[in-house]
Amino acid sequence: MTEEIATRFAAYFEAERPECENVSITDVVRIHGGASRQTYRLRATYLLNGRPRTERLILRRDPESSLIETERSTEVGALLAFQDSDVPVPRIDFLETDTKWLDRPFFVMEEILESAPGRVFQPDPYGDAREKVGRQFWEILGAIHGADVDELELSDDFEEPTEPHTAALDYWEDVINEDELEPQPLVRAAIRWLRANPPPPPRRITMVHGDYRHGNFLVNEAGDITAILDWEMCHLGDPLEDLGWALDTIWAAPEEYPGGMIPAKEGLEIWSKVSGIHVDAGAMLWWKIYSAVKGMAIWISSAREFAEARNMDPVIAFSGWYPAQAHSESLIELMKQARAQKGRGA
């Protein structure tokens, strides 16, 4: 498979960059973990004006089936919007929707060297760099939310929702309706609570990363965050959506230093300072419950993909099982808080 990718991508590279000669694509390695796209690391070598050049690249190709149905143009659009900003993102080199090259659409970006993501289930993933990484984590999220969406030069893929919380919940409830393999009493009860107890409207509509969390950014040995990745679910909406997701206990444990970084209170203060947005504690509970429901929707889709043999990658089987169980446990705890506010289940 990797040899085929090398040969076919070399042909594409030559066609797109006719100024490059003797193009060779080598060291193609599929990287683990991309549940929404197939991700390959590769090296492109070529002659430019007679001089040898090498580029280390990441190719992200749409799978035949995916957990998250998103247009790669949305992901690329967000990455392009934040090039050369306070939000570190990889440089985008190619976006190709013509399936003649690699059977499915793909995009290519620079490989961020000497950096790695923190592992989600590893205790203390950042070690001594915990505070440094944590401060940047919240500063960068503040920068994403502090950006004026009118100045980001976004494509028509990004629509401004009238009611961000309704649009977000509608989307994931539809996914659950379409993909559930078995009735979900807990998730349905949580959705009803979310509908009955809407959050206050956001102070302003911002870019929402959609999957901003520990594990979705790269860190170098010095503890610098070198790239924010995985923008597949980005959209315009309520910035608190990202806060709820970032603090979701499924990846933001333990409570003292969520995601192996800094305490939530300290992180939210940094975020508020950078974004200029106040955190509404009542709204945060709504967005935390929403995050668990959204997570469940993704895991429910995953279970269906695997059960129907549309995607037999082990990560799909894992996603349909362990995170779904973890999010169910998280929903039980969150709904205890929600019901206590209403005088039930206290």
Binding site: P123, P185, P314, Y322
Partner: protein
């Protein structure tokens, strides 16, 4: 059958981690092998309890339906709750238990919606019982993640 399925799944993990995974190419192959190993660990946990978890859930839902059916004002739902409460699981095959579990959970959702919409004492009590039940069901399916 000896060894038991759970023992087999956990027993071969040593070979996976020491003899197989290190010889795979780094990246996707090794990452996938680690996930397969985790799935084996979870499968071993589930093997022992799968029938018990499902049968217990089914019994609990039937008992709840028997308890509250008489107070349900909607005659159609009341009749379906009563009918479901009288059934028993004749087979302990997981597939059979899953089928009845799915039907009972659909009824549970309907009952919960009705209970939420009412302030009567039976509805408040049913709401509390359903939440307690969902917490128990969730806890019973907990998966122990090994330290990585």
């Amino acid at each position: 059958m000896k060894p038991e399925v759970g023992e087999i799944l956990t027993g071969v993990l040593g070979a996976v981690f020491t003899d197989i995974a290190p010889h795979l190419p780094e990246g996707y192959s090794q990452g996938s092998m680690s996930l397969i190993a985790l799935l084996m660990i979870f499968s071993a946990q589930e093997y022992d309890r799968a029938a018990d978890v499902r049968a217990s859930e089914n019994d609990a839902m039937r008992a709840l339906f028997a308890d509250v059916a008489g107070s349900v004002p909607d005659p159609d739902l009341r009749a379906r709750l009563e009918k479901a409460s009288h059934k028993i699981d004749e087979s302990l095959r997981v597939s059979a238990l899953n089928a009845s579990n799915g039907g009972l959970k659909e009824l549970l959702i309907e009952l919960h919606v009705l209970a939420e919409e009412s302030d009567t004492s039976w509805a408040c009590a049913a709401d509390e019982m359903i939440w307690a039940m969902m917490a128990e069901f969730t806890a019973a399916r907990h998966l122990d993640m090994p330290v990585m």
